[in-house]
Amino acid sequence: MTWTQIGWSIIALAAVLLAGFSLLFRRRYQYLVRKNPAVKRLQDQRVIAVERGVGRQVVLGEGLWTHAYPGLGLHALSMLPGMVSPEDSVEGGQVISTGSGALVLFARQIVQGCYQDGFSPGLQERVLPVSLPGPTPLSFSAGLLPDLSTQPPGSLAMFGSFGLSAPLWAEAAQIKGGHVFAAAGSITAQAALFLNVRDLLIGEEVFMLPGLMEPTASNQAGWLTEDILRVSLMALLIVAAILKMAGLL
C-alpha cells in the first residue's frame, strides 16, 4: 500500500464516518460538547460589548484558500452563522471584515441567509455590514488598523487564514480595552499571537470552534469524526515508532 492510498483511505473513512454520524445525530443521539473557557469568554465579552453599546469586529481572514492551510477560509465561513443573530442586525454594532473578494461574497450570502427568515422586511434590509479593508494582506492590515483605532471594538474575534500582522490588530484592539479572541491563522501567526492574546485556539482546537459556539448535529458529527481520526492517527504513529525502534519497519 502506497502513502497516497493510505491518504485516500483516511479521506474515505472520514467521509463515511461524517455521513453516518450526521444521520445518527440528526435523529436523536448526541456527542457531549466539551467546555472551553476561551470560547465562553468570547461569548460573554460579545454580550458585554452589546450592553455597553460598543462595536464587535469579526475578522474572517485574508484569503479563502491558501496552499499551506486550505481549510481555514471555509472554516471561517462555517463560524459565521454562530456570530450573527437578528439582535446584531438591530443593534448595528457588528462589522465583519475580510481580505478577499471571494470571502466577502460568501460572507454576505451567509449573513443574508441567516436573516432570510427574519422578523420583518425592514429587519432583512438592515443586514450586517461586510467590509473589505484591503484586498491583499498588507492593505488589509493598513485598512483594518485605522478602523480599530477610530471605532474601537469591545470584542475582536479573528478566524480564518491570516499571517504575522495579526498581533498588530490584536494590540490595536487591546490598547483601547477591547477583548481579543483568535482562532486559526498560520503557524507563525499562532506563535506570534500566543504572546499577546490570552484567548487563543491553536491546532485542531480551531476546527472544533463551530461546535463549541453552536452545537448542531453536523458540528457534533464533525467533532466525533475528527476525534476518531485523531486517536487512530496517534495510535498508528505510536505503533509505527515502536516498530521502527524494534527494527521491524
Partner: protein, 205 residues
C-alpha cells in the same frame, strides 16, 4: 429545486476534481477546465471585492465619517494607480518602480512596528498568560532556540552535547508537525462537510 441545483453543482465539481487525482490521464482536460473556471471566478470575486472597497470609501466621504480624509487619499491613490496601470501596463518599468518604491518601504515599516510589538509582548508574556506550563514552556523554548541558533555553543561531532543539541533543534519540528496534522484533519473535515452538502456556504448556510 432552488436548493438542489447548487448542491448538485458543488458535489459534482468536487467529485470530478477528486476523481481527477485518481484518473489523471483521462480527466486532465476536464480538471484543467474546472481549475480555469475557478481561477476566473476567484478573479471576478476579487473585482467585486475591490468594488466593495471603493464603495465603502465613497460612503465614508459622503457621510463625513471619522477618517474620511484618509478615504480621499485611498481613492485618489487607487484611481491613479488603476488608470496608470491600464495605460502603461504592469510590465512597464516606470510603473513597476513607482508601485514597488511605495509598497516596499510601507511593508518594511509595518514589519518594523510588528517586531517592536512582538518584543514588547514577549516581555509581558507572563503578565498576559500567568505562570502556566504553556507560557513557561514557550519562554524556555524560545530562549533555548535563540541560544542554539546563535551558534555560541559548539559541540564536538558525535559527542553527547551534539546529540542533545540535535534533539533540541528537532523538538520544534515535532511540535510543528503535530499542530499541522491536527489542522490537516480539521481542514479535511471542513472540506468534506461542504463536499457532502452538510455545510452549504454557497446557499448561505
Amino acid at each position: 429545486m432552488k436548493k438542489i441545483i447548487p448542491i448538485i453543482i458543488a458535489c459534482g465539481t468536487g467529485l470530478t476534481v477528486l476523481a481527477g487525482y485518481f484518473f489523471q490521464d483521462r480527466l486532465a482536460p476536464v480538471l484543467g477546465l474546472l481549475i480555469h473556471w475557478g481561477i476566473s471566478l476567484v478573479g471576478l470575486a476579487g473585482l467585486i471585492g475591490i468594488a466593495y472597497l471603493v464603495r465603502m470609501h465613497f460612503f465614508r466621504i459622503a457621510r463625513r465619517q471619522k477618517g474620511a480624509f484618509y478615504s480621499v487619499i485611498v481613492l485618489i491613490a487607487f484611481f491613479f494607480t488603476f488608470i496608470t496601470g491600464l495605460i502603461l501596463t504592469p510590465h512597464n518599468a516606470i510603473y513597476r518602480d513607482w508601485v514597488l518604491n511605495i509598497q516596499v518601504p510601507v511593508e518594511a515599516s509595518l514589519l518594523a512596528i510588528l517586531s517592536v510589538t512582538l518584543l514588547y509582548a514577549s516581555l509581558y508574556l507572563i503578565r498576559t498568560r500567568g505562570w502556566t506550563p504553556m507560557s513557561v514552556g514557550f519562554l524556555v523554548g524560545a530562549l533555548v532556540s535563540l541560544i542554539l541558533n546563535l551558534a555560541v555553543l559548539q559541540f564536538q561531532p558525535g559527542s553527547m552535547g551534539a546529540v542533545w543539541a540535535l534533539f533540541l533543534r528537532r523538538l520544534p519540528l515535532a511540535g510543528l508537525r503535530g499542530i499541522l496534522i491536527g489542522m490537516a484533519l480539521g481542514g479535511l473535515i471542513v472540506g468534506l462537510r461542504v463536499f457532502l452538502a452538510i455545510d452549504r456556504p454557497y446557499e448561505g448556510e
